[in-house]
């Protein structure tokens, strides 16, 4: 997919009035996360990495967002959402049980663990999970559809879009405090916002994005 916001890097605003000190601290901590497990086992961590590559597939031409590390960090801090459906275990237990169940489903369907499957088979299993069609005993009382929507895909999507690399891809302005925005109408861009490629003119957008700051 061609880059819609060529050269845009939200981090170029890190030392501008768009980022207050608290934001710098928070994002610096996030960027400093190493891609290794603290809560999950090595096997679980590898499995989350493989699943995340299906839910939020990333291009090969840039350093990947460490989704599994972000999930592991969430689990390590036991950072829940404030509710769970009846039958759903708390955060950490739900993840552990869901990962076990997904591998059990992969074994039952293909006689191999999930991360050994072809991507098409992985996607098929994830689709069945989303539709609530996976019912192996390993799920316990947990609905596979609820696990997908409230836990697995929910946490993966939140982890990915917590990362500046993902913000660049969608052309979001990113942190904005104390400097917010001035130009509010449609098609109006503040100089510290991403420029989108217009009429195929990649270089014009790149030029504008180089000056974002």
């Amino acid at each position: 997919m061609p880059d819609r916001f060529p050269g845009y890097d939200v981090l170029s605003k890190r030392w501008t009035p768009s980022w207050n000190q608290k934001t710098r601290e928070v994002i610096n901590r996030r960027l400093a996360l190493t891609n290794e497990p603290r809560y999950l086992t090595a096997e679980e961590f590898a499995l989350v990495t493989v699943i995340a590559a299906r839910i939020v597939p990333q291009p090969g031409h840039r350093p990947p967002v460490p989704v599994a590390a972000l999930i592991d960090h969430q689990l390590d801090r036991d950072q829940g959402d404030g509710y769970r459906h009846a039958g759903m275990p708390p955060l950490q237990e739900a993840w552990r049980q869901g990962l076990r169940a997904l591998n059990a489903e992969a074994q039952a369907a293909h006689e191999a663990p999930f991360d050994q499957l072809r991507t098409a088979d992985q996607d098929a299993l994830l689709t069945q999970m989303q539709e609530g069609k996976l019912k192996d005993a390993a799920w316990g009382g947990m609905s596979s559809a609820t696990f997908f929507k409230q836990r697995l895909a929910h946490d993966i999507v939140h982890a990915y879009y917590a990362h500046p690399t993902a913000w660049n891809e969608i052309g979001w302005g990113g942190p904005a405090s104390p400097r917010g925005y001035v130009r509010m109408d449609a098609n109006e861009r503040d100089p510290w916002e991403a420029a989108e490629v217009k009429d195929g003119d990649v270089e014009a957008a790149r030029r504008k994005n180089r000056h974002v700051g």
Binding site: K22, G82, A86, Y160, I170, G174, S177, P178, Y181, E196
Partner: protein, 547 residues
């Protein structure tokens, strides 16, 4: 000692954080635990924070407790969705029913200032007829309050918060000018306006509790768009930066990181104070009156958790209605793609509104709805695409690249009270050892009819402005009300018009729990208006010797 407000209390030893100055402090009165204060208030949001101010200014001794931290927004708030989940009530809760509610980010705050720290600032008045919806409109329950009195209190709250609103409000009886001018509309709001004009209905700038001009030490809104993750510039007129500093200046004490687990009641059936958990242990604050203001989940949970042999079904519950008639509001949306760059992340998320369907009774369902322009931030938007539309993988990534072109309309819709929608206690316990809430919720036929009507109408409004690829998000809810309704009869209500419990006359409930119906507008202005009225009524009752 740590200065992490999530780890150790800040409001103690005679001082509280100055929310307007990084690292700053203001002097605060400190009350003894073993000498009864006039009022201990549980919760410091739109209900408790407002009432703490009104009671302190009336000369009562007040201690107000909040389970959450005491933030200084200027130094504690990042421009970041993940970090700012620290504003939400994320303690464990169980949800069930046919339409289980999503809790946490969208409806539950845990901070001094409560949910007003992360609310979207939409400050609307009830339609007058809603206070007598049973008699005049044929559904729900009548309030024991007169709309004219409520409108006087609305005006007082609008002044206290310097609401920024339109010169002329298109619906309902005349109202005074809003104190501050309306905010400039962003592209998302202009899209709503164009859609309304194409459909032949009215629209206006949304009355918002964020400054459009300087006020004291707070600056005007800078349109950064992170409103629902906390305002880091103090433009938002939350309880944290309005009522609470006033309350402290008038002599109230705020205790942060203070989780109340039980209201104590003596043999005579009078409340005597609250047991609360702070700094690692359980403590007791004596009080002549207890006000429960924990919002529509924590309020009934505390009343139920405070059961005694004399009140085995929980406090204030002789009607059996504590926890029942929980009302969320429907929060469905219609989304589309514009050829224009909308960049709806700029500015407050709901800068324009139509209340047309709150005031037009030519409908095939009871109740009404407003709808507003939208500005979801990336995590929320990506999760909406995944959970409401089922997208993941390449289709999600491609959709997210069009984020800046998204335009949407979202309702705040009236859901009808049903006793089967309720808060009960689950077997599981929280970190304080207290039974957690189980929240049971199912939509009624009327709820579905309202939602269908709104989705059809908003889809046409988006089509009319040439948005493409229109789709509907049909599962969302917002706000929480009911569970301790007010009324004129002890058999069918929990509190009277003064928010005073029928059963225990020195126990009061002051938050969205007391709503008999919820209307089609955001509840915060009404909660604050009720709190102001309750403050005045308590003062009057005290003068009569009737406390």
């Amino acid at each position: 000692m740590s200065d992490d407000p999530l780890l150790s209390p800040r409001a103690k030893a005679g001082r509280a954080p100055d929310v307007f100055a990084p690292g700053g402090w203001i002097p605060m009165h400190a009350y003894r635990e073993d000498e009864a204060v006039d009022f201990v208030i549980v919760g410091t949001g739109a209900g408790g924070g407002t009432l703490a101010c009104k009671l302190a200014e009336a000369g009562f001794s007040v201690v107000a407790m909040d389970a959450g931290p005491y933030f200084r927004p200027l130094e504690d708030f990042a421009s970041d969705e993940s970090e700012q989940t620290k504003l939400y009530w994320t303690d464990d809760r169980i949800v069930d029913g046919e339409n289980p509610l999503q809790m946490g980010s969208n409806n539950s705050g845990k901070a001094v200032g409560g949910s007003t720290v992360h609310f979207a600032m939409v400050s609307l008045r009830f339609r007058p007829e809603w206070f007598r919806s049973r008699t005049l409109l044929g559904y729900g329950a009548d309030w024991p309050l007169d709309w004219r009195e409520m409108w006087r209190y609305y005006a007082k709250v609008e002044q206290a918060l310097k609401i920024a609103g339109p010169v002329t409000y298109p619906w309902g009886p005349p109202r005074p000018r809003y104190p501050y001018r309306a905010h400039e509309m962003n592209a998302a709001a202009l899209a709503l306006a164009r859609g309304c004009e194409a459909m032949g209905i009215g629209w206006t700038e949304t009355p918002l509790a964020t400054l459009s001009a300087p006020r004291g030490r707070a600056h005007p809104c800078v349109y950064r768009g992170f409103c629902t993750t906390g305002c880091s510039t103090n433009a938002k007129q939350s309880a944290l930066v309005t009522w609470i500093p006033r309350a402290i200046a008038a002599g109230a004490e705020i205790r942060d990181l203070a989780m109340v687990g039980r209201v104590e009641v003596n043999d005579a059936g009078r409340a005597t104070g609250v047991h609360y958990h702070r700094e690692g242990g359980w403590r007791f604050q004596k009080a002549r009156n207890v006000v429960v203001a924990g919002y529509a989940i924590e309020t009934p949970r505390l009343l139920l958790n405070s059961a005694t042999s004399r009140f085995p079904d929980g406090l204030a519950n002789s009607s059996g209605l504590v926890g029942k008639n929980l009302m969320a509001q429907s929060n469905q949306a219609v989304w589309g793609i514009s050829k224009d760059e909308i960049r709806s992340y700029k500015g407050p998320p709901s800068l324009a509104i139509t209340e047309h369907w709150n005031y037009d009774d030519n409908k095939d369902f009871f109740g009404g709805y407003s709808y507003m322009s939208q500005g979801p931030l990336p995590q929320l938007w990506a999760n909406t695409q995944m959970s409401a539309r089922g997208l993941w993988g390449d289709s999600l990534m491609a959709e997210m690249e069009r984020y800046n072109h998204v335009v949407g309309l979202k309702i705040v819709g009236e859901m009808l009270p049903q006793e089967s929608n309720r808060v009960t206690l689950a077997d599981a316990k929280d970190q304080y050892g207290l039974p957690i809430a189980r929240i049971t919720y199912s939509w009624s036929e009327n709820d579905r009819a309202l939602i269908d009507h709104s989705l059809r109408f908003m889809a046409r409004a988006l089509e009319a402005i040439d948005a493409r690829e229109i789709w509907t998000q049909d599962d969302d809810t917002c706000h929480l009300n009911g569970t301790a309704r007010m009324g004129g009869d002890p058999r069918t209500s929990v509190v009277d018009a003064d928010c005073r419990s029928w059963d225990i006359r020195n126990l009061w409930i002051c938050d969205g729990s007391v709503f008999p119906t919820v209307g089609g507008v955001n509840p915060s202005l009404t909660i604050q208006a009720i709190a102001c009225r309750t403050g005045d009524r308590i003062k009057a009752l005290a003068a009569l010797g009737d406390l």
